[in-house]
């Protein structure tokens, strides 16, 4: 899967070209800028990553596409704020994040009987910071503005100018919840630029970590969605199960959140050593997860609260570029593992989980179906690996060039765009996380819902802030 990059120069035709690609063969993934160019990123079925690049003039002028494809809205606002690109016709021209510690004003709805209230950035639970401004008429939410960026650490700039290999543990720590997927994408980017192909056992080992990550996240999401609908027992059981999944991560990778398990050139040498214990752990967790999912979906009052909460239509999901379970719960068909397969997913076919109601129920439905599939994949990969020792890590030394890799993480497409300079250091690294893509959908999903359902709607997505903010 190599990245095909098409460079266009004329301003007007570039916009047309982006619009045509987004409407046609490509799944739009987002956009970013570097010093002299804009890059709009797509994924094509089987063709893989596809990049449209536009060289900026001295004035850094460009015409926005987010008026037609809101999927690019956050990206264009970020390019304007972070890289000084001057967009014409940017529908929402506010800075995306705080500037010098001051968050721009929230966007609110005005009208008779409407009131506004702000939640955050500090929240009541053990969760990350973000500011949510509700406009509501009585209990009904008319508009919600989500302003994030409180976890903005300047990750991308911090990693520029440094050695590609030394950056790997840093990439693993951009976000704790999707660390394995991001390390996977980064490792693949370096391997593509180095012309290195990892062996089949390494592909299988990586699949094991990627699916373990999906499992502990999805189980946690189902627990949180139970709690969002007020079912304490479902929350308590789900969190205990998540703990068991994290202990299995520890046995499999030496880390409860799988940090540094996937590294450029292979997997960490200390991983997948206790195969017998891992296989037994997977079997036990699978059985307990099945029972849990059965009980969750067997609870009629819980499920009825999920129905109709936070509906996202197929059209909205497409316009805003929903990804992962959020996309597949609204009639979506794309799962990167089958749409543009990589590693072991090229040979292990997957049934893509789908649902159509676009609500909290559909998102939980997709996640529970994916749990079943993840356990099957784990079993098959572990059986194929047997008890043989894993091959050692291959040396990786990336040549100068640009590459983009996309991995299906628990929340959807996890993207790494990387440009390496002649001296082998990182010239530009851009991360688009599934959470970054999906946050605007949470906002849309709340419209017309009641305020007390916000925790439920929010938890049915259960997005991260750290990888969205970087």
């Amino acid at each position: 899967m190599t990245t095909s990059i098409q460079v266009l120069t004329a301003g007007e035709s570039f916009r047309e070209r982006v619009l045509a690609e987004a409407a046609g063969p490509g799944v739009p993934l987002g956009a970013y800028a570097d010093a002299d160019s804009l890059h709009y990123l797509f994924l094509r079925e089987e063709g893989g990553p596809f990049v449209l690049t536009h060289r900026l003039g001295e004035s850094l002028d460009a015409s926005a596409v987010s008026g037609i494809w809101p999927v690019f809205s956050w990206d264009e606002r970020e390019m304007a704020q972070d890289r000084g690109v001057c967009f014409e016709e940017l529908p929402d021209a506010r800075p995306l994040w705080a500037e010098r510690g001051v968050m721009p004003e929230a966007m609110v709805a005005y009208g008779e009987g409407l009131m506004h209230f702000v939640v955050g950035p500090v929240h009541a639970g053990v969760i990350e910071p973000g500011r949510f401004t509700f406009s509501s008429g009585g209990e009904t939410v008319v508009h919600l503005d989500a302003q994030l960026g409180y976890a903005h650490r300047g990750v991308e700039r911090a990693l520029e100018g440094r050695s590609t290999l030394a950056n790997a543990p840093f990439v693993a720590r951009i976000c704790g919840s999707c660390s394995a997927a991001r390390s996977f994408a980064y490792a693949r980017a370096l391997e593509i630029l180095s012309g290195v192909e990892v062996s089949e056992p390494i592909d299988l080992a990586r699949l094991v970590f990627a699916e373990l990550e999906r499992i502990y996240n999805h189980v946690g999401d189902l627990a949180a969605s139970s709690s969002g609908a007020g079912w304490a027992v479902g929350f308590a059981r789900g969190m205990a199960l998540k703990e068991e999944a994290m202990r299995l991560n520890q046995i499999a990778s030496g880390h409860r959140l799988l940090f540094d398990a996937i590294i450029p050139g292979g997997v960490s040498p200390a991983t997948l050593t206790a195969r017998l214990a891992i296989r037994a752990g997977v079997a036990a967790l699978e059985e307990r997860t099945e029972r849990y999912v059965r009980d969750v979906f067997g609870n009629a009052s819980l499920v009825s609260r999920w129905h109709g909460a936070g509906v996202v239509s197929h059209d909205t999901s497409r316009a805003f570029g929903a990804t992962g379970p959020a996309h597949r719960a609204s009639h979506g068909t794309v799962d990167v593992r089958t749409f543009a397969p990589y590693g072991a997913y090229c040979s292990l076919p997957i049934r893509v989980a789908r649902a159509s109601s676009g609500d909290a129920f559909a998102r939980c439905q997709v996640k529970s179906a994916e749990l079943t599939e993840s356990f099957r994949l784990l079993r098959e990969a572990l059986a194929a690996l047997g008890d043989a020792a894993l091959p050692t890590v291959q040396p990786v030394s990336p040549a100068a060039g640009s590459v983009m890799t996309v991995i299906e993480g628990p929340r959807g497409a996890e993207l790494v765009a990387l440009r390496v300079g002649r001296d082998g250091t990182v010239e530009r690294l851009h991360i688009i996380s599934a959470s970054y893509r999906n946050w605007p959908l949470v906002v849309r999903a709340m419209e017309g819902n009641i305020v007390p359902d916000f925790p439920l709607v929010n938890k049915s997505f259960n997005l991260c802030y750290a990888c969205a903010d970087r």
């Binding site: 500090v122 969760i127 903005h152 650490r153 700039r157 704790g176 703990e243 991260c464 802030y465």
Partner: protein, 152 residues
């Protein structure tokens, strides 16, 4: 006043990667269940005795973090959780990150790790509880203030 058997814990995220939050959340699961110690994670800083902080601190969070800390009544203990909070994490020194939330918010207890395990965090909280206990017992008790009549 005794904090040995009762501790309100408020958690404050200052730009962590959320790995530390997975482990703080684990304190409430059936395996670690800190309510058995009489400890509870509370929803408001006003209800807290201990404030746990994670992350390197970010420009955007600094003001809200200080305000949250100020809202916690005295005596209080700040516990810095994770390498980021101690200024030893991956993002210390990057342009928009600070010196560690634990350092900036004057933590008296530090729990190292990336992330530290729930057991390690629990040990840090036990340490905070005993520190708080000794702070509280050296401060004038509510009883003695009332007796002296200054409260009337």
């Amino acid at each position: 006043m005794s904090f040995r058997k009762s501790l309100g814990i408020r958690h404050l995220v200052c730009g962590s990667c959320n790995g530390c939050e997975h482990e703080v959340n684990a304190l409430s699961n059936a395996y670690y269940d800190i309510t058995q110690e009489g400890w509870d994670i509370v929803a408001s800083p006003r209800h807290a005795d201990v404030i746990t902080v994670t992350g390197p601190m970010t420009q955007a969070m600094r003001e809200a973090a200080e305000a949250t800390l100020e809202a916690v009544p005295q005596p209080r203990i700040v516990v810095g959780i994770g390498d980021c909070a101690t200024g030893e994490g991956p993002w210390s020194g990057s342009a928009c990150a600070g010196n560690g939330a634990g350092i900036e918010l004057r933590a008296e207890v530090i729990v190292r790790g990336c992330p530290p395990t729930p057991t390690e965090i629990r040990a840090g909280l036990a340490w905070a509880a005993s520190l708080l206990h000794s702070k509280a017992s050296t401060a004038p008790s509510i009883g003695s203030v009332a007796e002296s009549g200054t409260n009337r």
